[in-house]
């Protein structure tokens, strides 16, 4: 027969076991809810990308026809138009051109990561390849680009290239007028992530816009050939790598973009 102390201990043990079972149930329920919420979020993200793709594709069709008719009007009926009519036609063409670029931007954004392939990548090579792609712009602007030794880690190749390409291209595009673009690229290994940076000595971005520039179609200035989606692409790519992208607000010589990639992909 157990004595009183033993009985007390057994009762406490029973109580503790019951509490553990309750906690285990709670954890199981929470895990299940988290799993369902996660699946739901994945579905919603997929739906959203599908919608963007369909909308941008279906918008393209009438735009293409509109374009063709504007072309015919300019080509075959130009003589019949007054100078004002020709001016209207020019503006219609400019607007159609812009809409085409916006739709393409949306389509490109929806496609980022659609066919992702993960592999071990030497980021020195990634940046070298991007610089080859941008060779004519680098040459033309006489940009000075210095690159620290970059790590090798598992990442999505095409998307990583696109990220560096956009950041380097931006750094050249937004150099101070009359100044040669100066760009520095480097990386630092953290415990769970690698932190990269691309910094320049360009015109910089006011702190008020540090969040806004990563949103789709947000431009701080209307530069030819851009619609304001490049940085949204970059943000999406960083998030795909379980990291993030931001502008370093302590850097004042121009602009420094920092982004992290998880080491555990």
């Amino acid at each position: 027969m157990p004595n009183t102390n033993q009985k007390l201990l057994l009762r406490r043990l029973d109580d503790a076991e019951r509490k553990i079972r309750v906690l285990e149930d709670m954890i199981e329920n929470s895990s299940r809810e988290l799993y369902i919420a996660n699946q739901d979020l994945k579905h919603k993200n997929k739906d959203l990308e599908q919608i963007i793709y369909i909308v941008s594709h279906d918008l393209q069709e009438p735009l293409t026809t509109l374009y063709a008719f504007l072309g015919r009007l300019a080509e075959k009926h130009n003589q019949e138009l007054s100078s004002q009519g020709q001016e209207y036609l020019d503006y219609a063409n400019i607007s159609a051109e812009r809409m085409k670029a916006l739709i393409k931007g949306l389509l490109d954004h929806s496609r980022i990561g659609a066919k992702r392939i993960i592999e071990s990548i030497d980021f020195n090579k990634v940046v070298k390849d991007v610089m080859l792609d941008l060779d004519s712009i680098i040459h033309e602007s006489k940009a000075k680009i210095s690159i620290e030794d970059l790590p090798t880690l598992k990442a999505y190749t095409i998307e990583s290239r696109l990220l560096f390409q956009n950041l380097i291209h931006n750094a050249i595009k937004f150099a101070k007028p009359g100044h040669t673009p100066v760009i520095r690229i480097g990386a630092e290994e953290m415990q769970t992530h690698v932190s990269f940076y691309v910094e320049d000595e360009g015109i910089g971005i006011e702190e008020d816009y540090h969040e806004k520039v990563f949103k789709i179609f947000q431009q701080l200035s209307r530069k030819p050939g851009g619609v304001g989606i490049g940085l949204a692409h970059c943000k999406k790519i960083a998030l795909m790598h379980e990291g993030d992208l931001w502008i370093d607000n302590t850097y004042t010589e121009g602009c420094r973009f920092c982004f992290t990639f998880s080491k555990g992909l």
Binding site: H57, D58, Q60, E61, P62, T64, T65, Y67, A68, F69, G71, R72, K104, L107
Partner: protein, 134 residues
Amino acid sequence: MKRLKTILLIDDDAPTLFLNKLVIQDLDCTDKILTAENGRQAIEMLTEEVDDGFLCPDLILLDINMPIVNGWEFMEKYQTLSAEQKAKIVVVMLTTSLNPDDRSRAESIEEIKDFVSKPLDETTLKDIIEKHFN
């Protein structure tokens, strides 16, 4: 450039059909232009017996995204036509799709001879005719 007898345009968009007809007329490359608003109407035209057999347009310009029967569904039905009829027809997909999957899907279908981006213009149409009919 060889002159064709009939071109069949399959597209649900009236302005696009109008534009394509203008381009064909400008190039003056065919005797007749037929149009269908979707894949079902086109299949009905191809499977309905006419004077001496079935309709065999020299060239079909086919859109992908259409209501009722889209371009891919049209091709499934088209594949069931007789080899004799199909041998007389060249099917070219004409689309705004920038999706590389659409292009590779079209390339995997033997009966689709070409995949061309909209809008159709005289140069593109001339290229199609010279490539497939000379």
